[in-house]
């Protein structure tokens, strides 16, 4: 199985560990991710300015994947939503499709809609599946509390993203369960990290971020696991930028899902780039490793219960 790997603009320069850990995890399941240097920005940053300028780059990326004869696997939510939106708009607006194809023709590209866009969690869930993941584990966590923040643009609008149930997503929950970590029920799980307002309205952006940090900490999270690269940067970079230095202030460390899963699959923390998360300390990593142990078979558990 092979996909073109869409990393967007932030990941290759600011969150390389998201790409390397995802590639390493997928390799464990014999799924190859091909990096395509020709991919450009998904268009998301310009959406406030011009909707057509927002659609065109994604159509080009889809055309590139189509030419390559592969589907696109995405790890950034905003890129994911942009690519899905472009597909949706192209499906509805034939005239615009022709117009954009004229632009693409200069580069010998053509969009016809053959390439599919898939979020990496969907691929892990549907094509690998929790059972196969469990079978491949060499370790699992016990006593690890995780606050997942899905990020808005993978869930909503559901007519565009087609990712799980936008009100009660369970793919992420089930995948997280395979690592043995506990996914906390907390109030920010489906909400906004504030990234979209950064640089436009910093006060509001920070307020939304702080609300999530406090929410996760109150719920007892050891780590926050952002699915979107923008959320990651909010928690891993902006969180540090806005620290006041007050004594009672506690940093909420970030751990990406492929890093978490990778540890259970026997990948080492260097190849998963865990130390590259700027909010994680050496002690955090040590403690994380101490929570890892051989996975407990659920069937045995059940039998034990019956016996008891």
């Amino acid at each position: 199985m092979k996909y073109t790997f869409f990393q967007g603009c932030n990941i290759p320069i600011r969150i390389q560990q998201y790409a390397t850990s995802t590639t390493a995890v997928f390799a464990k399941f014999a799924i190859e991710l091909e990096v395509i240097p020709e991919f450009n920005c998904c268009g998301y940053p310009v959406r406030n300015v011009d909707e057509k300028a927002y659609i065109l780059p994604s159509v080009r990326n889809l055309a590139i994947a189509e030419k390559r004869g592969l589907d696109i696997l995405v790890i950034c939510n905003c890129c994911f939503a942009s690519l899905q939106k472009a597909k949706n708009v192209m499906g509805k607006n034939r005239q615009l499709m022709d117009e954009l194809n004229t632009i693409l023709a200069k580069e010998d590209l053509h969009y016809s809609g053959k390439a599919e866009v898939k979020h990496y969690l969907t691929v892990l869930y549907e094509e690998v599946g929790p059972e196969k993941i469990k079978a491949q584990r060499v370790n699992a966590f016990t006593g690890l509390n995780i606050s997942v923040i899905h990020g808005c643009h993978v869930l909503r609008p559901r007519e565009i993203t087609h990712f799980d149930d936008s009100f009660v997503p369970r793919i992420t929950e089930e995948l997280l369960q395979t690592t043995g970590a506990k996914s906390l029920d907390w109030r920010g799980k489906l909400e906004c990290c504030g990234a979209a307002l950064a640089g436009i309205n910093n006060d509001l952006s920070h307020k939304l971020l702080k609300e999530k940090i406090a929410g996760a900490q109150e719920a007892g999270a050891d780590y926050i696991t952002p699915i979107c690269s923008y959320c990651h940067l909010q928690f891993d970079t902006t969180q540090k930028n806005i620290q006041t230095g007050a004594a009672e202030e506690k940093l909420l460390p970030v751990l990406l899902f492929p890093q978490l899963l990778g540890l259970c699959l026997g990948l080492d923390e260097q190849s998963l780039g865990i130390a590259k998360n700027s909010t994680i300390t050496a002690e955090d990593i040590q403690r994380l490793n101490s929570l890892l142990g051989p996975p407990v078979e659920e069937k045995k558990k059940k039998k034990a219960k019956v016996a008891a």
């Binding site: 603009c9 406030n48 200069k106 010998d108 906004c192 307002l197």
Partner: protein, 575 residues
Amino acid sequence: MNFNILLGLSAVVCLVGLIIRLSIWFSQGMHPSDVPTVPAAKRVAEALKGVLGSLFSAKIFLIIKSVFVDLLFQKRVFDKNSLRWIAHTLIFFGFMLLLLMHAMHGVVTEHLFKGYQSTLNPYLFLRNLFGLMVLAGVAIAVYRRISLKPHRLRTYTSDWAALIFLGVIILSGMLLEGAKMSSHSKYQSMVDEYASLSNDEDGKALEAFWVQENGLIAANVQLPPAPELVAKGREINGDSCIECHVSNKNAFASSAMAKVTPMFFAVFGDSATLTLFWYLHIITCLAFLAWLPFSKMFHIFAAPVSLIVKCVTGDQLQEPANILTRQMLGLSACTHCGTCSLECSSNMFYESFHNDFILPSEKVQYLKKIAAGKENDPAVLKRMQQGLYVCTSCDRCTTVCPSGINLKELFVSSRYALLGQGMPETAMLSHFSFPLALAQNFVDDHLQALKKVTDIFKKSFQHLTDMALPITLGKATDIGNTSFRGCFSCQRCTNICPVVRSYDNPTEALGMLPHQIMFSLGIGNTELAMGAQMIWSCSTCYLCQEHCPNQVELCDIFYTLKNGALKKIEAGANS
């Protein structure tokens, strides 16, 4: 005119040019509000301090490595594009070897190799090989520039000029050598000087041999020459010539050229053609030398320095004086190869906005003018400002630049230097601002520039609080999305909005709440909806849209309103 006078003149022009270009390194720079100008003397001193500090430390090993890896091998180009690497390597090595071995043979080759004669092998053969290398490299470069045009590779006249210069230098050299081969007067003068012929018969035989073997054109030799005459000539050639002159066939490119020289002989005559080609060759070479510092060819000085600075500092300069100097060094090291624009993640935005300055390579060309204070046209500056802002901060340009220019820093500084000049930039209200907020460069400049745009936004639209009540029904709204018609004001959107709940007095902070904006569109007042602060405070989380019981696409409508508001502001600014 005397060759030495011509050489002296062009060398002086070249030297003056070099001094001008070097002085720019230490006198110009990009200055956002909190970056003061630094006197040139201090900049030279700081640069020297840095250079000496690196030379006399362990960093010297880095420099030596960089000379081999980055400069001679051109690893940055090799890693990216093998065709471009082949072209550059062919041109670079071909040209440098010709310069040292051929142009400067009196200074270099004669001292290195005993018994050097330009007409002996391997010199005769190598000269042609190096020439052909340059021509092949130029051909690849021309092909690249033409074939990549649809991929937004820009080529200026000056880019063609550089390639034409190289091509003409080599071709004129080959023509000159070819003409010498076929010229009878040249042959005669050499026979007079070197050959000791006992009689006329010997002379005829030698001539027949040179016609047959070395491409000489002689009117009094019948074609094809008699074999026995040629055989005799071969013997004489062995006695008189071969010691200093191997067969012209070794000069494979020039001997091919010799086939076209008779046409010139027919028009100008034999010796005049030689003079013509000599002048053509010499004048192009010297013109190239004089033109060099004023053109992108200055990169042969600036790019190596830029690459070594990158290797030594890792683009992490601290001293403000050196940051400015590095910017100007970078601008002068640009070869306009267009690699940055080909790889630019924002390059598709060019197709929508048709602003060349979105492409990094094009920004660099004009930033030179802006740094020199030579570009004051507000329309150009405004386009440059947009070009600088429509950037995803993916840093690909900086990663791929073959000259090692720190484009990222250059663009960040230039962006805030321009924004500080007073023109509002509507693109600031986009997610291009996200990585800028993350990096926290020029925070105050950013906020000041942002205020300029938000002030204009406030001025450009009517607000609910300013209006005389009651607001009556306007004409039907046409914003492309009609889902707002389904709104029955249940206020689910407003109640679930994380932004609304962030304020104690949301109506005051946001102008209008989400359901009010839908209602405003419903009664036909698009202006009012567009002017609501709410649309710029929307976190685009789509909760409202997802929870709407009647499928009103609020978040999408907000995007449409934002697009419309910015267009209106831009139209106002341009009118």
